[in-house]
Subunit: 376 residues, 2 copies
């Protein structure tokens, strides 16, 4: 980073089926919480970045920058950024660049999604906007379909079993029990995952992150000190369609963003104490650990076996509950991850955390590294 | 600007009803033209900013950053920015900040919109996403309706007549005749405007910019020299709903962005030689001249009278044909404006030009000032 950027405020709504709250309500609740937790007043916010994917389709509402701006009395400039389910990380990255450019000193970044007010068909179709509308949608694919293909191939290549895969959601649900903002605060057994309804073979209902409403907001600053700073912010791209890729069992955008983030933070992977990864489906959680470099290809499930059995792994994974446990209001997720990584570093008094957020089948990916310095 | 940012490449598709071209095709055509006109190869592009408003609804396609990235062989990082019809200016602003931050040296900015493949009802509803879905859409308003109300009020306050208003589109069409990329290369008389079909009293069909497909792309650089540099890039916000504003006949976001842009460029309004303004409706063109400061409130139409009669105004206005003459593929417009201002400055060997692009009823607005230095 060319500028010291600190995390000085954070807030979020509960994630879940929030039928009584509009997009504006959700943004306002997260924004109020973020500002209240910061050393700023609303008037200190000189720029807003809004992360949203679906509002055009699910709420008939584009132009969220104008709604966000009007939440604050002085109507600061605001920009909306979208990169499907990775929108949050891309908004954070844009905010970092704005601070580094000197154009802003205190940037409010709001991620928001309202998904439960429309039919499942409508939201599933809208989410397919994150895939290739020329190559994947006409083939009848949905995202459970795409990740089902990925899981099939992964099982073929590495011998992953259905029962082993079920450990992933069991771990995430267990972690979510401790998170007051999580959509699902209930333990589930691996057996319950294996026996849940078939969605897209081999993926079952409890392998899939849910449809959720929610918002999360952070304030990033180049002006105020904080125990948490952004040590790295990197984004990367891959082909949109999985058809154009050399492999289904690894995501190059994750690898690219993570490699550059570690370089930017000037640390090694072993320095990371805690991470939040983009577990939109259980199979993604396994692949993410491999692509980030925490284990070799085919070995991701071993980390979840250790986590499930309470054995040491050397790093915490999705301690918030991840997308499966917390819920996945898609464009809010990347912001929520940053909040959860920061909370965890402070609670455990550890130093480095990583947030990994991708869009579609990792056609775009953003990785952020946080550094916690208790002394500052 | 904290960094010298130059315009080193530009390209666009023809604007119009381009039924045989997909979003990807349009982006590719504009990108190829921009790169070909620049000192760069594709591999020199280290970041892409995509400006798009409507693809989720009109093409079932979000996540355009991934499509844009895959247009280039090395899949550079890419971000999609949306601010309704002002998306182009907001993408340019984001690109400037990325260059100033040092995170990129050569940024490709692509604006694209595909509007003619769906029914007029669908596209009119999608465009209403730029207005307030809680306050304006339920009232039955469309954008012609909103600007019809604005025109009614303006006529009441300033005595503008229907026949005078018709001069605006006549001037824009005359200018468009000289633009090979324009959708409408035909002169229209003021009388034809006055007698065209009623859309939303007092606005007639020929007061309204059309539904269009098209793409435009520029390359902004902190590495390469060029006769054209970005002297200012500013964005501003107002309330989304017109209900929440103190006046209907002036747009505060235009005033804010323009005032700050002049400060940033360290010039006076009188230094501007040519401008492209956001004439989504004829009445907007009149108000824009007043809000930008080129005349007093109520006097905007006098500029168009002078333009129509070939009298000197001291500055050129929408020499490209504006949104009415060129067509208005909404998120491409702000990029196209920058190209047209640059072309005009070079063709006339003048120094300063201004591009004014807004979203919705100017709930968001971006203003860019270009400086042309023939010697560099």
């Amino acid at each position: 980073m060319t500028t010291d950027i600190t995390l000085i405020g954070q807030g979020q709504t509960k994630f879940g089926e929030l039928w009584s709250k509009s997009i504006r309500d959700l943004m306002e609740e997260a924004t109020d919480a973020a500002i209240s937790s910061s050393p700023c007043t609303a008037l200190d916010i000189d720029l807003i970045i809004v992360s949203n994917m679906l509002a055009e389709v699910t709420s008939g509402q584009a132009h969220l920058a104008a709604i966000a701006s009007a939440l604050l009395p002085h109507h600061p400039p605001a920009i909306r950024v979208e990169s499907a389910c990775g929108s949050g990380a891309f908004a954070l990255h844009t905010a970092c660049a704005m601070l580094e450019s000197g154009r802003a000193k205190n940037v409010l970044v709001i991620g928001v999604e309202k998904m439960t007010d429309v039919s499942v068909d409508t939201v599933a179709s809208a989410l397919m906007g994150a895939a290739d509308s020329e190559q994947e949608r006409p083939a009848g694919l949905t995202f459970p379909g795409i990740f089902g293909l990925i899981a099939q191939r992964y099982m073929h290549e590495y011998g992953l079993t259905r029962d082993d895969l079920s450990l992933v959601s069991a771990v995430h649900h267990r972690n979510a029990c401790k998170n007051p903002f999580a959509q699902f605060r209930s333990e589930i057994s691996p057996d319950a995952v294996t026996k849940s309804s078939m969605i897209s073979d081999p993926l079952r209902l409890l392998d899939c992150s849910p449809i959720s409403d929610g918002a999360a907001a952070v304030i990033l600053s180049s002006e105020h000190s904080s125990p948490i700073r952004i040590a790295a912010s990197q984004i990367a791209s891959d082909s949109l369609s999985i058809v154009a890729r050399p492999t289904l069992t690894s995501f190059s955008a994750t690898k690219d963003a993570a490699e550059r983030a570690l370089q930017e933070a000037e640390i090694k992977l072993q320095d990371i104490n805690v991470l939040e990864t983009h577990d939109c489906f259980s199979i993604a959680a396994v692949i993410n650990l491999e692509d980030l470099g925490f284990c070799d290809p085919g070995e991701g499930i071993q980390v979840y076996k250790n986590l499930f059995e309470g054995k040491p792994t050397g790093f915490g994974v999705n301690m918030s509950g991840g997308l499966k446990g917390c819920g996945h209001p898609v464009a809010a997720t990347g912001i929520k991850q940053l909040i959860d990584v920061a909370k965890n570093l402070q609670a455990t008094n550890q130093r480095y955390g990583l947030a990994h957020n991708f869009g579609g089948a990792a056609a775009t990916c953003g990785v952020h590294i946080l550094e916690h310095s208790p002394s500052s």
